[in-house]
Amino acid sequence: MKISRAAMLVGLAIPLASILYFAADLVIVNRVPDQADWKAAAEVIRGRWKEGDLVVFSPQWAQGASAWLQGLNVDTGENPDWYEASRSERVWVLASMNGRREAPPEGWTVIFSRDLHKVSVDLWKPPAGPRPVFSFRDHIGDALVSRLHGQRREICSNQRNGRWYCGREHPWQFVGQDSKDVAGRVRDIIWAHAIDKAVVEAAWPAVPAGRTLTVHYGLTQRAAESREGSPVKVRILKNNVTVFEDVLAPDSWGWFRKDITLDPASTTDIRIQISAKDPQSRQFTFSADVWR
């Protein structure tokens, strides 16, 4: 009996596919930059560097050039965060491999571009419009942190190293500056772990005038993966009026964004309240910026 045409096609497809695979293999390996490529890219960046610039990578994980960028402001997060990058005046994108085809989100404009052997260096400017004028994290000292036990308010008055404690220093019961892995990268955040039978409140009574308040919030990677405790409720109050509420499930994974319109002519009182029935591993984090 003759071998069927289909069987022949299957049999011959395997070596053919293998040849294609090998070609892909060689392309992938050969497009990887070496130290000379990274060094050349770093020299280009250093040559036009200005205070307030930031270097990011494309793809963001391809950070082999870091060693050549000592002393510069480099984003070494695991994944890109264009919101964070847009706080900088200018952003250098050091692209390699398949990242050379990627571009920042819409609205960014390229002001300089240099193609090198296996890398490319592009200087981007964030979209024109509002600029950040006030960071809650940077102004953690201005915050009024308290715990609400029903009608009773417990003021947290012990501030150490950018963290507010209600009483003695505690490894996780505080509201303050920290850096945590949240939704795919380490972020500079305000830590506000939910606590038992109370609402944690962080208030900024005189947030400067601006167009928009951008709040990001989410559970840490550890909290989301642990799937412990109960849902976390977050409430944002503007001048004592609730303007936003959300509930994060125990395995909620994400860095969620909420934009709140501010009064452009006067200061605003902003309060952020966090609560959970079972606060086990409810590592709530947030950041907030005023844009004008």
């Binding site: 299957v10 892909a24 990887v32 892995d181």
Partner: protein, 640 residues
């Protein structure tokens, strides 16, 4: 009847094994993973028992001696570590405590043993037994396939196994995962040889019992290697109950089935008797407290902590783990040509089985060269079981691929069968086209096709072999898949190896280095092998370190941030990367500003200036600030 293994087959198998050994031996630039460091230490401590065995044999077999020498790492059987220790003592080049007194602290009880042959570095000597055993696996695969399939299937299966990057990487280590893979395969081979159909068994009773005894001993050795081996009989039993149940439940003359005790294959009996016996004999910790040690052993592995695994951007920290993990990871970490061959082999055997079952076996143009009808089921079950163990949602998965490698050897056999489909296609060309009628032409095309399949796999295996445990196939973007898909990168602490050269060249004298995930015993071996400058001081505290080696694991990213802040260094000074993906970042503490020559004096407002409390000769020589009054020491600057 199984195919007869001839001398030429043994020679070919041995040649393939020798090639693999050369490949392994010439690519030993692979760092010491955490577990390997622990086994180095265990091997060294166990090897002291040999001294006692030689000096005072009666004492060596006492409980005191066993407890003393085998106290460390009691959660794993002793055999591999005893072999590594023996090889180290025989072949390792030890440091001389007299000419190199500093080297004492690198050894157990600060007593380096005397060099015997001294023909290789200490780590290589430790690894040697694993290198040999893992090379022999190639021969076993070849001979298995010769016996139950064909020489061509055997050759392709062996090559398919040789060119698996993850298996190749693990094959270098003085660990247990590859040795137990070899032992699993060996037991399976002996078992299958010892369990032909009943008529054949009855015809060659002596041979059957001999092979059954070998299967029993091999299982004992497997049990003495790693606990995976306890699962080996599961597949054998399942296979026997599915395919040979009629042997033990034959129809009597009355037409009714009865249980035929005597038909149970001898291999089962031998495994039942010899397996535990060999296991007991080869683990000294069992000799004096078998119940206590076994309770500890079972309890330790039944309640093993969960190692976190990063899989498609999700860090799995506790059950349920994804059932797909071993299957998807294998798809991504086995070169695609081998995957294609293996899948084709599986589909082809399945199709043949289905056609035969439906009575259409005559329609198979070129049947696969399989000796027994149920051989394929046997290799399929042995392939499946190691995968299923890890796929179970509550099994700790450790992030790597090593725990189901015993199944991958059987996947290689399917790859060998899959190549028959390629060969059939080429023969089909000969049937249809005149240009391909010549046997030489077809042979050349077959060789070219084999090369087309194996060369990429070989390239993948050798390229980046130092970080072979982080390999992902080009179909998923190569090593870049780690970053692109959010997958496990570094294995466990071995990447420090690639930073040693930089550290040796750049670290200041007596630098303190936080080695992060690299175990202390691994660092000691780096010293002993001369891979790390001996003045470099390891510590595991980035708050005090001059350098911090951050091993890229998802679960450590918070720690990296703390390390950066503690070191006051935001950007790594050196990055160990594989094909553009960072595996390890070296952070350097910026040099501290020199201390001021004169300590600043803060004076309360309104008080008259006071003289400095202390002055050095250099201060007195500075014309800009000549001392005008007597200082407290009274002997510099002013006049008495």
């Amino acid at each position: 009847m199984a195919n007869k293994i001839r001398k030429i087959d043994i020679l070919t198998g041995f040649a393939l094994a020798a090639c693999y050994f050369v490949m392994l031996f010439s690519t030993l630039d692979i760092g010491f993973s955490r577990d390997e460091g622990f086994y180095f230490r265990a091997a060294e401590e166990y090897s002291r028992w040999y001294d006692e065995l030689v000096d005072n044999p009666a004492q060596a077999f006492t409980k005191k001696s066993i407890d003393q020498h085998f106290a460390y790492n009691p959660e794993h059987p002793a055999l591999p570590k005893m072999m590594y220790g023996l090889s180290w003592r025989l072949f390792g080049r030890m440091h001389d405590p007299v000419s190199e007194p500093w080297s004492r602290v690198w050894y157990h009880n600060t007593r380096p043993p005397k060099t015997l042959m001294g023909i290789m570095t200490e780590s290589t000597a430790m690894r040697l037994p694993a290198l040999i055993l893992n090379s022999l696996l190639v021969m076993f695969i070849f001979l298995f396939a010769v016996e139950f399939f064909s020489r061509r299937v055997a050759f392709v299966s062996s090559l398919a196994w040789m060119f698996l990057p993850h298996a190749f990487w693990h094959a270098h280590l003085a660990c247990f995962d590859m040795p137990v893979t070899t032992m699993w395969f060996l037991v399976s081979w002996f078992f299958l040889r010892a369990t032909p159909p009943l008529a054949e068994r009855k015809a060659c009773r002596r041979r059957t019992w001999g092979l059954a005894a070998l299967a029993g001993v091999a299982w004992g050795l497997a049990l003495s290697t790693k606990h995976n081996a306890w699962f080996i009989p599961v597949g054998f039993l399942a296979w026997y109950l599915i395919s040979r149940w009629e042997e033990v439940l034959p129809k009597g003359t009355d037409g009714r089935r009865h249980f035929a005790f005597g038909n149970i294959p001898p291999a089962f009996w031998m495994m039942l008797i010899l397996g535990p016996l060999v296991f007991f004999l080869l683990w000294p910790k069992l000799w004096f407290d078998p119940v206590g040690q076994m309770s500890f052993y079972i309890g330790r592995h039944a309640k093993h902590e969960y190692y976190w695994a990063y899989f498609f951007g999700t860090l799995y920290t506790k059950p349920p783990f994804p059932v797909s993990f071993p299957f998807v990871m294998s798809l991504m970490t086995i070169p695609t040509p081998i995957v294609l061959l293996a899948l084709t082999g599986q589909l082809k055997t399945l199709r043949e089985w289905w056609q035969k079952r439906r009575g259409r076996g005559y329609r198979i143009a070129r049947p696969l060269p399989i000796v027994y009808r149920d051989t394929v089921l046997f290799i399929f079950l042995n392939l499946l079981i190691p995968f299923m163990i890890i796929a179970a949602p509550n099994t700790p998965i450790f992030g790597g691929t090593k725990h189901w490698l015993p199944g991958v050897t059987f996947l290689a056999l399917f790859a060998g069968l899959g190549f028959e489909v390629v060969v059939n296609a080429i023969n089909g060309l000969g049937e249809r086209f005149h240009a391909f009628r010549s046997r030489i032409v077809r042979t050349l095309i077959i060789v070219a096709c084999l090369a087309a399949i194996m060369v990429p796999a070989a390239f993948d295996t050798i390229h980046g072999h130092t970080n072979g445990s982080t390999y992902y196939s080009a179909t998923f973007g190569g090593f870049g898949a780690m970053g692109r898909f959010g997958m496990q990168r570094e294995f466990w602490g071995n990447s420090a190896f690639s930073a040693l050269e930089w550290l040796n060249a750049n670290a200041k004298k007596n630098a303190q280095v936080d080695f992060h995930d690299t175990a202390w015993d691994s660092v000691k071996m780096y010293w002993r092998d001369g891979l790390l400058r001996r003045d470099i001081k390891p510590l595991w505290d980035f708050a005090k370190a001059d350098y911090h080696l951050f091993h890229w694991h998802k679960e450590f990213l918070d720690l990296e941030e703390r390390g950066r802040q503690a070191m006051n260094s935001q950007v790594p000074i050196h990055v160990v990367e594989q094909d553009g993906v960072p595996l390890l970042n070296v952070y350097q503490r910026p040099p501290r500003a020199p201390a001021p020559r004169v300590l600043p004096v803060v004076r309360p407002r309104g008080l008259p200036p006071t003289p400095p409390t202390r002055a050095t000769p250099e201060d007195t020589a500075t014309p800009a600030s000549p001392p005008t009054t007597r200082n407290t020491t009274g002997n510099a600057g002013g006049q008495e």
